[in-house]
């Protein structure tokens, strides 16, 4: 083996290699670093060769994981060396050691620029590569024109141009404005005619980035991509050097098909036909061959083609072929293909409506859940989760449960969460749901989060039919020799509440229940003991006639814990002891827990949060949102002002273990998202739940039972529970007689539809109203999907649009009856006449047993008539200056902004189709955005927005909005303000203090009538 040209480097590497352990290695490295430092210090004696050698040593040491900051300067200085070998090392090592924010990099910017515009093409390549790898904004601004010139220059050789393409890609990512869309799109199209495949490969990567951001501007590139793909697929004019195992550059084929996936459709029929021919050939013509590399390469192309077909094939010409292929793949022996088959099936679920065909492969997918490879098991789990619906939930969830006992630890938490969610969403009956959750706790208690057992308690509490069943089950689990602590908690809780329902069964007398629970007490932690004490107190209360022996036993326990060091336990012990000696008062205070308000599952929220990471998973979430289900997930519904009907207030508290310190003197208010509540000590709480004392020092010194009724209508001082997320907090429930509860939060759905163009507008147990919208300039076309979820027809269906004055809306005929399980589509045409934030309302009603009427806001909101447009500094400033002041340019200081980083704000803006133009404002704390507004009166009108933030106080900012029309400026300003101030999801801020209680009869109506909610919102 020939040694490297640099002997000293080779010796050092050998030394490191001979080190017996990490410690020796560290010593050797330290010695070398000392040496290098000394040599660098006396730089005079250093030859360029030596410098080069030391810099390589540094890179090697850095690779081993040691810090070499002291040498950055030396690496950077080599960039300026006159000779290629030194310069090259300088460039390569600098781009490995430094990042774009390093100050040293600035020192080199001039040399780099000179190398780029110089005539030495090897220097050009080095400089372009460095900028391509670590160039920052500063580089983008000063170098972009030069780099563009090189890329399109006809005198430049391909070896320079291919690097210029990727260099430009980097600069574009750092500052999108460096590529001027108008001028560049034609050039980009020309670049795609390139014969040299190296240049074409790089240019295709550049194109992917450009179209991903703005496909509209690059339509002209679409046919060129198809041509390039044809050339490759037919192997025309492909040099041997670019074929890989007989396949014309598979990487370029893949990249080209990736670029095509960013165009929403292909309108030109000829282009479309050509492309589909190629795709068809790839789909049909890819055979399994012996050579591994060839096989991989051809399947790389095949999988990309599948992705492209899924994206484009709205007519489903080739979709069944795709599913068939994937079905084949998930059953082959080759693990890579199996993995990819499962992964792509999951993707397919998201883009198209092929669930039924995929279900045919369920058995095979379940087999994959037991694959020896964790990567494949994960894919299978994701796919099963995605394909689960009412029809197969039982099978899938039971498989997941079975798998849980043998699953890797790494997967158990995810597995339990997913099983719990599916059980909840698709339960055919509630007892099955209870079974599943209890099994889950039994098999994987360590991985079952509190949310999961809180949720099952919530369901049991809210469903009387379920209570005896749950109690029996809980009792059964207690017989097992060793049970998980979470099981102790949940069974103790359920038995405390409902064991009296079992009293006649063998083994279920209060005494027996007590002793079997008490057996567990020595094994549990301090967080569980308070629950057990509550259970004892409840058992005692239910023991009628009283059993002095049991009473003495329990009192002895209370007394024992009166001096417990844990404040929570101590307090409960003291209070329960005092209460239980008061006789009659106990009955009221220890009464059964009231029903929980229907609210969105914390689990699903949690799953959504944890899944927000990757694009793939967020698509899953999207699907979950769109799914029609008979989900048990019901969101809380309340008046917009967050005030619950006070007459119904019951002060109760969750089985939360939080030790939040509440001052009992605090007179707070109920929380908007349904969390409550602590008892005000002064008028002693009437129907206080026994668990409410969890929250702190409350004097529940017994009020006489007679107080209960009379105090019902008082407005008790309450205060919010700060840890609202995980607590199964309880809000007051109105008596929802005769009304239908919507599923999901209507306001949240509306908010979500403000940002996307399809989704569910409204859902209740009988109907689901979906929406799909297309917007073009000032016009829109919405389709309402009215889906009857029942097995019997919905009658007297009526839909009336109440448009605000600025929208012209025309709804097509809505049928009077929707047949069972049918979906009716009703197109709705929208024309925007002038700028306004008013919102159209759909007044919808139907008859199913009762008459249901809802008023729903339609997402034909201001931002739908915006088209993002990004402006350059040259366009922006003259315009900004010409709109000099009110009424065309308005400024306002906005306070009470919900704090967010600038990046978050930019994202928020982008989501409303206001494009943030980075780099226009020299102040990094400011943000400049632009957009075009369309309406009949204004036509297309450019709007400019500037936000100045104060990094020291994120809750306020100054906003300036300008456009050529006063109303537009005002409306847009108000619109943006609403977005910045309000929290689009559920607000957690304290609501205003409750008004005097409305008459009890009207309260439930106000609560359940979305129309009433709207009254507060539409102004």
């Amino acid at each position: 083996m020939a040694l490297s040209g640099m002997r000293g480097l080779s010796v050092f590497i050998s030394d490191i290699r001979n080190c017996q352990n990490k410690e020796q290695e560290r010593l050797r490295v330290d010695k070398e670093l000392g040496n290098i430092r000394t040599r660098f210090k006396n730089e005079k004696g250093l030859t360029p060769y030596e410098k080069k050698k030391y810099v390589w040593k540094m890179l090697y040491i850095y690779m081993l994981g040691y810090d070499v900051d002291f040498g950055h300067m030396e690496a950077v200085s080599l960039i300026s060396a006159p000779k290629y070998p030194e310069k090259q090392v300088g460039y390569i090592v600098t781009s490995s050691l430094l990042n774009e924010n390093h100050d040293f990099l600035r020192l080199a910017i001039n040399t780099v620029r000179n190398d780029i515009i110089g005539r030495n093409e090897t220097f050009q390549c080095l400089a372009l590569t460095l900028v391509g790898n670590i160039g920052g904004r500063e580089f983008a601004e000063s170098l972009a024109p030069d780099v563009q010139k090189l890329l399109i220059s006809s005198s430049c050789r391909p070896l320079v141009r291919k690097k210029a393409a990727l260099c430009l890609l980097r600069l574009y990512r750092k500052n999108p404005d460096v590529v001027n869309v108008d001028g560049w799109s034609d050039r980009m199209a020309q670049l795609l005619d390139e014969r040299d495949l190296g240049v074409l490969t790089s240019s295709m990567s550049l194109l992917v980035a450009l179209v991903a951001n703005n496909h509209e501007a690059y339509w002209s590139c679409l046919p060129k991509c198809v041509k390039a793909l044809e050339r490759l697929a037919r192997n025309q004019d492909i040099p041997q050097e670019y074929t890989y195992y007989g396949i014309p550059s598979p990487w370029l084929q893949v990249k080209t098909m990736r670029a095509l996936q960013y165009f929403p459709t292909i309108e030109d029929p000829n282009t479309r036909r050509s492309l589909f021919e190629v795709l068809q050939r790839i789909l049909m013509g890819t055979d399994v061959v012996k050579n591994v590399n060839k096989n991989n390469a051809s399947h790389a192309v095949l999988f990309e083609a599948l992705a492209l077909v899924m994206h484009l094939d709205a007519e489903k010409e080739m979709m069944s072929q795709c599913v068939a292929l994937l079905g084949k793949f998930i059953a082959v022996r080759e693990p890579n293909i199996r993995y990819l088959g499962l992964e792509n099936m999951t993707r397919m679920l998201m883009v198209t409506d092929v669930q039924d065909i995929i279900k045919r492969h369920q058995a095979q997918i379940i087999t994959s859940l037991k694959d020896p490879d964790i990567s494949i098991r994960r894919r299978a789990l994701d796919l099963l989760y995605g394909m689960c619906d009412v029809s197969n939930a039982k099978d899938i969830v039971e498989e997941l449960l079975q798998y849980l006992s043998t699953a890797d630890f790494a997967m158990r938490e995810e597995l339990s969460l997913k099983a719990a969610i599916l059980a909840e969403k698709f339960a055919p009956d509630l007892s099955w749901y209870v079974d599943v959750i209890l099994q889950l706790i039994d098999k994987a208690g360590d991985f079952v989060s509190d949310d999961i057992w809180f949720r099952v308690v919530q369901f049991v509490t809210n469903n009387e039919d379920l209570q005896p069943y749950a109690a029996v089950k809980a009792r059964e689990y207690l017989d097992k020799p060793a049970i998980h602590e979470t099981m102790v908690k949940v069974s103790a809780y359920i038995l405390g509440e409902y064991s009296h329902l079992l009293a006649r069964r063998p083994g279920c007398s209060p005494k027996e229940i007590f002793s079997i629970i008490h057996e567990k007490l020595p094994t549990v932690s301090t967080s569980t003991i308070p629950i057990l004490l509550s259970t004892y107190a409840k058992i005692l209360m239910h023991t009628q006639p009283s059993d002095p022996e049991l009473q003495n036993q329990i009192w002895a326990i209370f007394r024992k814990y009166e001096s417990c060091i844990d404040a929570e336990i101590q307090q409960r012990a003291v209070e329960y002891f005092a209460l239980s000696s008061k006789g009659a008062a106990l009955m009221d205070i220890m009464a059964e827990m009231p029903k929980f308000p229907e609210r969105q599952s914390a689990l699903i929220k949690k799953a959504e949060d944890t899944e927000a990471d990757t694009a793939e998973q967020s698509a899953l979430k999207l699907r979950a949102q769109q799914q029609t289900s008979n989900a048990l997930v019901v969101t809380d519904q309340r008046p917009a002002n967050g005030t619950p009907p006070v007459s119904e207030l019951r002060l109760v508290k969750v089985p939360s273990m939080s030790n939040v310190d509440h001052s009992s003197a605090d007179h707070g208010v109920t929380q908007e998202n349904g969390t409550l509540t602590v008892v005000d000590p002064q008028p002693p709480e009437p129907s206080a739940d026994l668990l409410s004392d969890l929250l702190g020092p409350l004097a529940i010194e017994g009020p006489p039972g007679s107080a209960v009724q009379s105090e019902r209508n008082l407005v008790p001082g309450t205060e919010g529970v700060p840890n609202a997320e995980d607590a199964l907090a309880i809000a007051p429930v109105g008596e929802q007689t005769n009304t239908v509860q919507p599923i999901g939060n209507i306001a949240e759905r509306f908010q979500a539809l403000g940002l996307k163009d399809s989704g569910v507008l409204y859902e209740d147990p009988y109907i689901q109203i979906g929406i799909k919208a297309e917007w073009r300039a000032h016009q829109g076309r919405l389709v309402l999907f009215l889906g009857n979820k029942n097995t019997s027809p919905l009658v007297s269906v009526q839909a009336v649009i109440l448009p605000p004055s600025h929208l012209k809306m025309e709804l097509s005929l809505v049928p009077d009856t929707i047949p069972p399980r049918a979906q009716v589509q009703c197109p709705l045409e929208v024309i925007n006449l002038r700028p306004s934030r008013d919102v159209a309302v759909l007044d919808f009603s139907y008859q199913f047993g009762t008459h249901v009427n809802v008023k729903l806001r339609l997402p034909a909101v201001l931002n739908k008539f915006l088209q993002p447009v990004s402006v350059s500094a040259e366009e922006f400033f003259p315009q900004w200056r010409s709109l000099s002041g009110p009424p065309l340019k308005l400024q306002e200081v906005v306070r009470g902004v919900r704090p967010m980083s600038l990046a978050e704000m930019a994202n928020l803006f982008n989501s409303f189709r206001l494009i943030v133009c980075p780099g226009l404002d020299p102040n990094a704390n400011n943000l400049v955005a632009s957009t075009t507004f369309y309406s009949e009166s204004t036509r297309a009108m450019l709007c400019l927005i500037r936000i100045e933030t104060d990094p020291a106080d994120r809750t306020q900012l100054r906003m300036t909005v300008a456009s050529g029309e006063p109303t537009l400026t005002f409306e847009l300003k108000e619109f943006i303000k609403e977005q910045l101030v309000s929290i689009p999801t559920v607000s957690r801020g304290p609501a205003p203090p409750p008004p005097p209680p409305p008459p009890p009869t009207s309260a439930p109506a106000a609560l359940s009538d979305p129309g009433a909610m709207l009254a507060g919102l539409l102004h």
């Binding site: 083996m1 040694l3 490297s4 480097l9 080779s10 590497i13 290699r17 390589w56 890179l59 090697y60 850095y62 690779m63 081993l64 994981g65 290629y84 070998p85 090259q88 090392v89 390569i92 990042n99 774009e100 390549c125 590569t129 790898n133 070896l159 690097k163 990727l166 260099c167 890609l169 495949l197 190296g198 490969t201 790089s202 990567s205 050097e241 670019y242 890989y244 598979p250 990487w251 893949v254 990249k255 990736r258 991989n296 390469a297 790389a300 999988f303 990309e304 693990p335 890579n336 199996r338 993995y339 990819l340 020896p372 490879d373 990567s375 494949i376 994960r378 990471d613 990757t614 793939e616």
Partner: protein, 143 residues
């Protein structure tokens, strides 16, 4: 963004080459490499070549004592990356002749030159072996 990093690690878990296309601090690198190497080296021949780790997908391939690990985004074409690894190995093989771990170790700079010609900013620049090797051969001749 495509390729986020390329690692070459031997059976003992020693890093022989590391090239990142996004900036990580030295501590982050050490932690990441440790986790990935532990995960990938524990896998056997019957398992697939893809491992999910944090937000990355690792596409890896083993050649004798040396593992090539490429970290990519979740939506990257896995098989294309897998064959890109092979192209890299074939290119090194053409240059060194029967390339082995020691070649890469003692000719770290050559390995870097080749990578520099093949990948830039996380994207593939060149896939023709003769184009990749041309600058290196020029240099060898000159010295």
């Amino acid at each position: 963004m495509g390729i986020r990093f390329i690692l070459m690690v031997n059976k003992q878990g020693q890093t022989r080459l590391a090239q990142y296309y996004e900036y990580l601090t030295i501590e982050e690198r050490r932690a990441l490499e440790g986790e990935i190497v532990r995960k990938c080296l524990a896998r056997n021949e019957q398992q697939c070549s893809f491992v999910e780790h944090r937000n990355y997908k690792i596409v890896y391939r083993r050649y004798a004592s040396l593992f090539f690990l490429v970290g990519v985004d979740n939506d990257e074409n896995e098989l294309a990356i897998l064959e890109f690894i092979h192209l890299l190995v074939e290119t090194m093989d053409r240059h060194f002749g029967n390339v082995c771990e020691l070649d890469i170790m003692f000719h770290l700079e050559k390995a870097h030159f080749m990578l520099e010609e093949m990948v830039m900013n996380g994207c593939i620049v060149e896939t023709s072996k003769s184009n990749i090797l041309a600058p290196i051969q020029l240099m060898d001749k000159a010295s």
